[in-house]
């Protein structure tokens, strides 16, 4: 079957959701080991975001006219630096925050609560005796504050991830809720906007800032989402289907961005 006529996969749909949130001129980083956000960023860049600054392997990459943007499994793969216009020293990247006001970030998590607070540290009530030790917060605590907004992206929709309360909060979402949850702490940045999973897209209800179902991916019903979410989601009266990629988007995804098919596995 021609790859273009094949129906979009869940991961391709997730990437497209992320892409459509991006606006030309924004600053985005293609992190390590995150094929879905990578594809979303590149999709927006190639189709309507020519003036986005796209960071690949800690370089500002010029890939706009690349017929195929080769995928590297590791962020440290030096071969990806062949597109570089500039390098970001890692300390500068983390300490110079001005450019982040145009930045959009993508974060994973071990746990996410109803207000979009999230945890990369570990599972367990006692920090000194964790049942499961996570990888650490990496740059997520800071990037989720300093960028204009962020999206939580997870590879499975699971009640162990979507919990009533995180054991630890390594990246603040909407705290205990409310529009001012972040501003009252003096934090810049717009906070979490979407939570994107293989089942659905969620956002946060204005006012309460509790997580709310926004759209269901094709073929997913509300019960499946409810069953796999460990807290009560706000469910609007009408929940649309997530708009799948257009033929053009799918073509660019498959022929230029994800030739190796990481999103089609």
């Amino acid at each position: 079957m021609n790859t273009i006529t094949m129906q979009a996969t869940r991961k391709e749909i997730m990437a497209t959701v992320l892409a459509r949130d991006l606006v030309d001129g924004e600053w985005v980083e293609v992190g390590a080991n995150l094929p879905v956000p990578r594809a979303g960023v590149l999709l927006a860049h190639l189709l309507w975001g020519a003036n986005m600054s796209v960071m690949v392997a800690m370089t500002k990459a010029n890939v706009l006219n690349e017929p195929v943007i080769e995928e590297f499994e590791l962020i440290t793969d030096h071969r990806a630096t062949r597109w570089a216009e500039a390098y970001y020293l890692h300390n500068d990247l983390v300490e110079n925050m001005k450019f982040r006001h145009r930045g959009v970030f993508f974060a994973g998590a071990l746990q996410i609560d109803p207000f979009g607070n999230s945890n990369l540290i570990g599972i367990g009530k006692d920090y000194k005796a964790l049942k499961f030790r996570g990888p650490g917060a990496i740059g997520v605590c800071n990037a989720t504050v300093m960028n204009s907004r962020f999206h939580l992206v997870v590879n499975s929709h699971d009640p162990r991830i979507f919990v009533p309360k995180c054991d630890f909060i390594s990246a603040l979402g909407w705290g205990q809720g409310g529009e001012d949850a972040r501003t009252k702490l003096g934090l810049p940045g717009g906070g979490p906007r979407y939570v994107v999973t293989p089942l659905c897209v969620m956002d946060f209800e204005p006012g309460s800032k509790r997580m709310r179902l926004k759209s269901l991916h094709p073929g997913v019903d509300i019960e499946e989402v409810k069953k796999n979410t460990g807290f009560e989601l706000i469910i609007p009266a009408k929940v649309p289907t997530t708009e799948p990629p257009s033929a053009e988007e799918l073509k660019v995804l498959r022929e230029r961005i994800d030739v190796q098919g990481a999103l089609r596995q």
Binding site: A32, N33, M58, E73, L74, I75, T76, D77, H78, R79, T81, Y87, Y88, L89, H90, N91, V94, E95, I121, G122, Y127, K128, A129, L130, K131, F132, R133, G134, P135, G136, A137, I138, G139, V140, C141, N142, T144, V145, M146, F168, I169, S170, A171, L172, G175, R182, L185, G186, L187, P188
Partner: protein
């Protein structure tokens, strides 16, 4: 001028053992690189072989499995790093995970920005630096060294990140001259910040080049005078050395498999076998490379 000591510039090329002689049990050491790249693996294996104990290890801001290996070998007592893992090869460092869960190591919990704030404080000789991100999170609770405070200018709530001072830092870079002028291919990740926070810095390099070659492009000199330079061709293996070789994924997976066995089933035998074959067994770093095999090493050439 004393005729007995002519005024000549000393070469800073030293042997691995001379560099390791600066380390004492209980010290704070720094390790450079980034996830799967540019770790000073000759030094890391040397530290294990010497049997150091109770080291506080400041890993790279994104630490890779070199830190995991130091944990597995019982060298590291305390880890200062915002992440320990190997990306897709090991989303969480297996020994890091196991040792943390079992209380074998202490973790100084912080994120990347706090990490650089802490190193910068050491470099600047101030007891702390302020940071904003982290307010409202669990960091001050997980790491009591991080304190919430009111800033003296506007009264805003910030976190005070304490200085993390490094006794001895070890880095891996592309080249140096005899005099410790170190240049990278690529940008060297966060190595400059580790260097700036360290009392002493030893750098292992792929090769030693002439002073004239350094002077041909002095803007590239990232470290203007390391305390010692260790010759280390293929010295970051199994991790990549930008411009020299890419990651040896097969070898990294071999380590991950051994460490995962320990993490999942508490069976240390596969890790011990790995350590015996690749760390404790080889009489020197070149024998390590011989055991990996020239044929394998040469598959890692870059395009």
């Amino acid at each position: 001028m004393n005729p007995d000591s002519p005024n000549v510039r000393k070469k800073r090329i030293i042997e691995l053992d001379q560099a390791l002689a600066h380390v004492k049990d209980g010290m704070t050491i720094g390790i450079g690189g980034f996830i799967n790249s540019s770790h000073p693996m000759h030094v890391v294996r040397g530290l294990i072989k010497k049997g150091f104990k109770n080291l506080t290890v400041v890993g790279p801001a994104s630490s890779g499995l070199e830190i995991d290996l130091l944990i597995a070998a019982g060298v590291a007592k305390k880890i200062i790093a915002p992440y320990v893992g190997g990306e897709a090869l090991a989303p969480i460092g297996p020994a890091f995970r196991a040792a943390a869960e079992r209380g074998l190591i202490e973790v100084f919990e912080l994120d990347e920005a706090m990490y650089y704030a802490a190193l910068r404080a050491a470099a600047q000789r101030v007891p702390f630096n302020p940071w904003r991100s982290g307010v409202g999170t669990s960091f001050p609770e997980m790491n009591p060294m991080i304190k919430s405070f009111k800033d003296p200018i506007n009264g805003e709530t910030l976190l005070a990140i304490p200085a993390v001072n490094i006794d001895v830092a070890f880095l891996h870079a592309a080249v140096s001259d005899y005099y410790g002028n170190v240049q990278y291919i690529g940008h060297g990740y966060g190595d400059r910040a580790i260097y700036a926070a360290a009392d002493k810095t030893f750098v292992q390099v792929e090769k030693v080049v002439s002073n004239e070659e350094i002077r041909a492009d002095p803007i590239k000199t990232a470290i203007p005078g390391a305390d010692g330079i260790i010759r280390a061709p293929f010295g970051a293996h199994p991790y990549s050395s930008p411009g020299h070789y890419i990651e040896d994924k097969a070898h990294i997976k071999k380590y991950v498999q051994a460490a995962t066995a320990w993490a999942k089933t508490n069976d240390f035998a596969p890790l011990q076998a790995y350590l015996d074959e690749f760390v404790l067994g080889p009489k020197d770093p070149i024998e390590y490379l011989e055991r990996v095999g020239l044929r394998q090493l040469l598959t890692l050439n870059e395009y």
